[in-house]
């Protein structure tokens, strides 16, 4: 699932609320069928998070960072799990390097390794390929596809990259000014807005044009959702 919207639409805010880093001003959040506010510390071991805007301690090496977070998540088979993520994310050559000395692409892979330590059932990613070169970004997307396919995890992705969203998400929530203004499968949205791709849909929504109202659409207006999103616990709880 992807959150799509312009700057300030509320994507990062939504992810922060799902992580319990930000308290919602109203309403409740249910994850895995449970109330996040009441069961946060019980639910957090089943989730993880990665963002280029949140960094790992620079003075620690890659391995030290993974060791610390493996302990924080209470993993019993730490050594095996750390070895596994190092292999999966091709970090073997970097394990003894301090995180502060790594390139942006390498840091992203390390942050993902940290996010994969506990094999999260729900993985929250805030612009996971921001500032990455196309090759590295493609590698990260392929890795996420493999992870999702192999472990059946739910991935909630906030991104500005339409290609990334079309590739990784089977459901998109379109956001504007803190509200969900439309939702659906990428192809459904493209068809509903009579557009060629998701980027054009994004522009329509960013410019407040409703589905089917574009001059070239030629058919009636469809409903615009205002928060009518399938509850997350329905999707996530079934994984």
């Amino acid at each position: 699932m992807a959150l799509l919207g312009g700057n300030g639409a509320g994507k990062t805010t939504t992810i922060s609320m799902l992580l319990g880093l930000l308290q919602p001003s109203a309403g409740t959040i249910r994850l895995f069928g449970e109330d996040l506010a009441a069961r946060r510390h019980h639910l957090l071991p089943r989730m993880n998070f990665s963002s280029p805007y949140v960094e790992l301690p620079h003075r620690l090496t890659v391995r030290q960072n993974l060791e610390v977070f493996a302990r924080l998540y209470g993993l019993l088979d730490r050594a095996a799990r750390i070895k596994s993520v190092i292999e999966e994310l091709e970090l073997a050559a970097l394990t003894d390097r301090r995180v502060g000395t790594l390139s942006a692409g390498q840091k992203t892979r390390v942050a993902l390794a940290k996010a994969m330590l506990n094999l999260p059932e729900l993985l929250l990613l805030d612009e996971p390929t921001a500032s990455l070169d196309p090759d590295t970004a493609d590698w990260v997307r392929a890795y996420l596809e493999r992870y999702q396919a192999r472990h059946g995890a739910a991935i909630l992705l906030a991104s500005h990259n339409m290609g990334e969203v079309e590739r990784l998400a089977d459901h998109v929530l379109m956001m504007r000014q803190g509200r969900i203004v439309d939702a659906g499968a990428p192809q459904d949205l493209i068809e509903r807005y009579s557009r060629q791709n998701l980027e054009e849909v994004f522009l329509d929504i960013a410019r407040d044009r409703r589905a089917g109202t574009h001059p070239s659409a030629g058919h009636g207006e469809t409903d615009v959702l205002t928060g009518g999103v399938p509850p997350l616990d329905r999707d996530i709880g079934s994984t």
Binding site: M47, Y53, Y73, L76, E121, H171, D235
Partner: protein
């Protein structure tokens, strides 16, 4: 995003508070272990203080009847003051490390609880205080023939009380940093020095004007330094001072914890956990 999760994929977990506290202590050990300039800096200032005040004491010893009664009083005061200063600094700097590295969101979206984080910071305050003052305490023996360890068990009581007070102040400083961001960082360096004149580190409380004594006696540190002088001059351990210091420290820790948890809740309400440090 609906699919079948691989049944063998789930790793084995242990929901252990101690394990999470150990993880945070380990995180700071990794930093200290690989940073010898930082270790030297931590021991440098207490050692320099001890040397300066030690020679000054040697001079005064021959010229002051007050000091002639207890040679080590100034050196002990210097070293115990550093226990308080280093504990507060150790707590606050370990907290600041997370902000400087923009790691706070990673920590608090993990199962780490705020209270476990605080416990780890207290352990690090103890470690940093020991690294800071232990070399100075040991060096005073060959330099001046004075061992602070000759105080015996009361030294442990003084150390304990000053360390807890340092952590209480560290909690308040950390809460201010959570609330106001890195703009409040300098509090970590100067807050404790505001208390130095009224803690009566180097002189008895009677020196202060009477109105200031009331404030002075409301600090746990004042009882420690008065207690220290009682041990060195009169060779008695003042249980009343010890009790008062423990009581005031309990109050300080309770208030500090309350302020910190309030600031943390406020940070969650305003989304500061993601923004702070940027």
């Amino acid at each position: 995003m609906m699919s079948d999760r691989h049944p063998t994929a789930t790793p084995r977990f242990r929901d252990s508070t101690l394990s999470r506290i150990a993880a945070m202590v380990l995180r700071h050990f990794y930093v200290l272990r690989t940073s010898w300039p930082r270790l030297i800096e931590m021991a440098y200032w207490p050692t320099m203080q001890m040397i300066i005040w030690g020679f000054f004491s040697t001079f005064l010893y021959a010229h002051s009847s007050w000091l002639a009664n207890a040679f080590g009083v100034l050196i002990s005061a210097v070293m115990l003051w550093d226990v308080l200063f280093r504990s507060q600094l150790g707590f606050s700097l370990s907290f600041l490390e997370e902000l400087w590295s923009r790691n706070l969101a990673n920590l608090f979206c993990s199962p780490l609880r705020p209270i476990e984080h605080i416990a780890a910071l207290i352990v690090m305050a103890l470690v940093r205080a020991l690294i800071g003052v232990l070399p100075a305490m040991l060096l005073a023996i060959p330099f001046y023939g004075f061992s602070i360890f000759s105080m015996g068990l009361p030294l442990g009581a003084f150390f304990f009380n000053l360390m807890i007070m340092g952590c209480g102040l560290g909690l308040i400083v950390s809460a201010m940093i959570l609330r106001f961001g890195l703009a409040a960082e300098n509090l970590a360096w100067f807050l404790v020095f505001m208390l130095a004149p009224i803690s009566c580190v180097y002189y008895p409380v009677e020196i202060l004007p009477s109105w200031l004594r009331v404030i002075s006696w409301s600090l746990p540190s004042t009882y420690v330094f008065e207690g220290m002088r009682a041990v060195l001059f009169d060779h008695v351990f003042r249980w009343d001072y010890f009790g008062a210091s423990v009581g005031l420290n309990a109050l300080l820790m309770t208030v500090g914890l309350g302020i910190y948890l309030y600031a943390f809740a406020l940070a969650r309400k305003r989304g500061l956990l993601l923004q702070v440090g940027e």
